[in-house]
Symmetry: D2
Subunit: 339 residues, 4 copies
């Protein structure tokens, strides 16, 4: 099955190429980039040795006629114009934000510009989502923070107050993209922690709220503070909510375990073991732990993902597998590096 990747010079695009090289059913046929068009793929992504000799091409819609499935990894706001030129029959997974939100006003408030529309939200493990994805040919792939936070919060709907969820989540630097900015250079980042988009203004906030509200039937409201962490990959999200009533650690743990029972990629850890981002490094797995803070009657949840895999390229392939009728885990069973 021939596939295309549009916008492959960034970190998410590179990760797509890496994972797709090991996918038994998908054959990468077209790879485009904008400013890097004409350059060898390995000059931008030296790790992608199996692509040696291939170059990024400029986007030409006709090149993609042979592709049954297309991944888009473009900057926010650029997907619609490209999609308009593609065959309406093409299966598309958009890693960008353009089609994630239902509420156009929210899109315009958080991203600026015009809302492109709403596609099926591709978070397969959220209640009710998988069946919808399977019926879709166009999927909006969730944001990295949104993935971690929605998966960590949804099971709590039964026991906690989703109208006042507090989240602090730290991300590795690839979450900020492959972009030459002073605040992202290694000298500024290594050995340091700093917050950004401070005061509840991160653009994943409405996405998380919509996803949770849809998944749980409860109006969710979230206070989210992101942090830039001195590591290349990984998100660790800490989520806390008021419990509706007292509950034991074990009972809370069981609710989470039950919620993700049978899920290949979402692992609720045994009590006493904490998620660490290194354990999911390079993999599509999610590690979750939950605890009851009896002192404050709060539920506390810790979630680790690799922002480039489950938070971007891996989940995109997972969604592609679903809409193509393939086993959901195809090409995604590689485990985390651990160290």
């Amino acid at each position: 099955m021939k596939i295309g990747v549009i916008g492959a010079s960034g970190y998410a695009g590179g990760e797509l190429l890496r994972l797709l090289a090991g996918h038994p059913e998908f054959e990468v046929s077209c790879v485009t980039a904008h400013s890097n068009a004409g350059e060898e793929i390995t000059s931008v992504h030296p790790q992608l040795t199996s692509y040696a000799g291939q170059s990024f091409s400029s986007f030409k819609a006709s090149d993609f006629e042979r592709c049954e499935l297309i991944f888009l990894a473009l900057p926010h706001g650029e997907s619609a114009a490209v999609i308009a030129s593609l065959s309406p029959k093409a299966k598309i997974v958009d890693l960008g934000a353009d089609y994630r939100l239902e509420d156009g006003a929210k899109w315009e408030k958080y991203y600026g510009g015009t809302h492109a529309g709403t596609w099926t939200y591709g978070a397969p493990e959220l209640p009710g989502a998988r069946a919808n994805i399977a019926k879709s040919s166009k999927v909006a792939n969730p944001g990295c923070y949104a993935t971690a936070i929605a998966l960590g919060t949804a099971p709590a709907a039964k026991i906690a107050d989703l109208s006042d969820v507090v989240v602090v989540a730290a991300s590795g630097t690839t979450g900020a993209g492959r972009s030459a900015k002073i605040n992202l250079i290694a000298s500024e980042v290594m050995g340091s922690l700093t917050s950004y988009k401070f005061g509840g203004v991160h653009q994943h906030t409405p996405e998380i709220e919509e996803a949770l509200t849809r998944a749980t039937g409860t109006a969710a409201k979230i206070s989210f503070t992101p942090i830039l962490a001195p590591m290349p990959r990984g998100i660790l999200a800490t989520i806390t909510m008021k419990l509706n009533s007292a509950i034991t650690n074990e009972a809370a743990h069981k609710i989470y375990n039950d919620a993700y029972n049978g899920e290949e990629f979402v692992k609720v850890l045994p009590l006493g073991q904490m998620p660490q981002t290194s354990s999911v490094l390079g993999s599509n797995y999610v590690a979750i732990q939950v605890a009851v803070d009896e002192h404050t009657n709060r539920l506390v949840v810790s979630v680790a993902i690799d922002n480039l895999v489950k938070g971007a390229a891996g989940q995109a392939i997972q969604n592609a597998n679903i809409i193509c009728g393939l086993p959901e885990n195809l090409g995604l069973t590689g485990m985390g590096l651990g160290v």
Copy 2:
């Protein structure tokens, strides 16, 4: 003025020796360690070149008779026995937890063992604290997390609900001590984030609550989740509370600015600039920023300190300066490395 340091082989002890070497009034006269007794100071702390040729001695009370001022940097629970053998007239700053809490039951719950007693809590910038410290000869130096969190929360008492403060704070690894444990080795920590003491069980919780309640006159309750970050030093605390009523960013910022107006070591950053731990690295400074999350009607505060300086050795010297009647900033004006 001759001073002694008891328990100088750990990170806080080493930092004390580093800072004391630059202090114009304090002369380090006795330096003890337990398992490293007899070893050269520079074999444990190779950076301390000005101590070359000196060794750690075993603790002998008589050695400390000549010391007017003594710093204790011992493991929790070990201070009382040592103090019993020292002159009651000695000025003492205890970097351990033994004398920090008023509530003995809380001490026993969080630390185990017997509560040693309660000393003046040495957080000079909290309302009402400085004058009490100045009258004391024995000071309990605050915990590293407690320092960051109490300073970041106290000014909010006027505008927010301190009965449900949510804090997520990440610390560099020196916060876990100079201890050979598998979970602290570099292979496990670098490139990874993980939470610990999860579910509201961190022992600084009652200390922060007591400090805030004392400083603000409001009963404070805190849900605190600590995170181990891949960097040697630094704490970044994110604090959030429900606002009592709507307030602008500028008004919230002014309240914090006013609260720390004239304080040498606590800097409320200009709006738009975020605290980063590297900017306080190696220094006694605290960087704070505050914002209103209008979406959730929450106040969000970000605080950065160096856990070994303002979170331990630097604040200990600041307290010592106060109880000795010296300028509070003596020996502490070195600025952060920045990178």
Copy 3:
């Protein structure tokens, strides 16, 4: 094909399990550990989700009767006793040093204790090695530094003086093992570089010299200085030798290119591109660049590997593939993470 892993609680053992889980022909049947026997595999290696529910067992020779192929990842000096109890027909790849050296006196000088013997040295890409490995049922898997340095040096035999090779190589901390030592804790390592086994005493020195002498027919002598780098994985080796006569960059590059032409795992980069350890992270690939320093008439070679993959577990599986008559790259085609 049933296989066993003896000594799987260390980093090399964990990496074996990770890679073996994706191998289409090998089925992990027995997994032992010493001090961790009885513990769940995922309690030590939380990333290994596909092993959930399985525990390390204590070594019992009878358990291994069903294993056609056995990997040993034991501390130096412990392989012989275990091997004596295994079936002589078993195919074995030993990741330890016990059977790597031909010269028993050198073994005893650098490792202490008794030399166990000499097995086929499993560096498939060195001249003459692959055919020997294919005929063997017992293979000594090379050391991590030895792999990088021998591959980086061997092609130079035609143009440079191998009797005075100077190497400085830096390794990530997993090279030092999963061991709770003060000098390996994150606080000591992060943000710092330091050398160790200083003055030509590293135990891989004779291994590299034997490998190069065997592969090139020239007596090789090496001055090797190892460095501990603040990263979990990766080796970057810098190798320099006097050139026999002046040669251009292009000519030197062609010699290296020709030497590894057709090798799946050894990539001589295009001129102008430098090896970086992140590009081989998690993969069995080797990245090499070569340059002529005209100013000093020296050849300079830079080599990057992942110490746990090509430097340990990956190369072990590569050797196992060869001795089992399987395609050499089976289970090993995953590319590096890149970032």
Copy 4:
């Protein structure tokens, strides 16, 4: 004594300001920057709290008439034009490369453009240098690598062959400047090692050779390979040379000890202790260890400095102290952070 800093927005400039703030005799009076002119100093260097409220000014020669001493921290090639406009009586320490080389042809080969001239080379601890500096009013401050390598090599002139010195040195990322380039962003650097300016082309090569030849009376030739290390600060240089004749470790150590006997800033460590960059972090100290590799008859030297302090701003102040007739260590006695 009023002083000026021209070009203070980079890392070396920021470090100058940090150290000058603690200098008892120097009063920072003029601070310029080019593209950051008009911005607050703390917006670029948030750690420099004592400069709060001050802004970078554009360079105007008349502003510097009141400055007895001026530090230049400009990009290579820009010093001459600025200096031409300053009073010829001004004492100047240039942190750039423009006046470091005696050989103009080498300057043009390695830097391009026109050679500005030759000033006294400010490496006080090299034989014969201090007296020359004391007589000068203009000093060329050494490069960061040059400082580490020249100090590590000079004492060996008596026992080793300086005509074929091999050096591999790794630097933290601040050595590459405060510059927004893709290869310097944290995602690319963290967890990775890579070489650059590969093949003997680094511009410090002629500087080191001239410094060593001048200091030792022996024509020095050096093969130098630099490496970018995943840490903000620090250089670890590994230097090796053929010994003229066999010598013991102890004898080599004594030669180095004697060479730096009485030097405040250069510390030859006790045998068995290795330099680590963290131990000199933030300080003007140099840590050196030396060993004889009997196997290859080579001397091996390991040197650690902080590239921004002894490798730039600290040594510049040291030189300024000398030319101003002040105690050489004034404002420079702060010790390394250690962790």
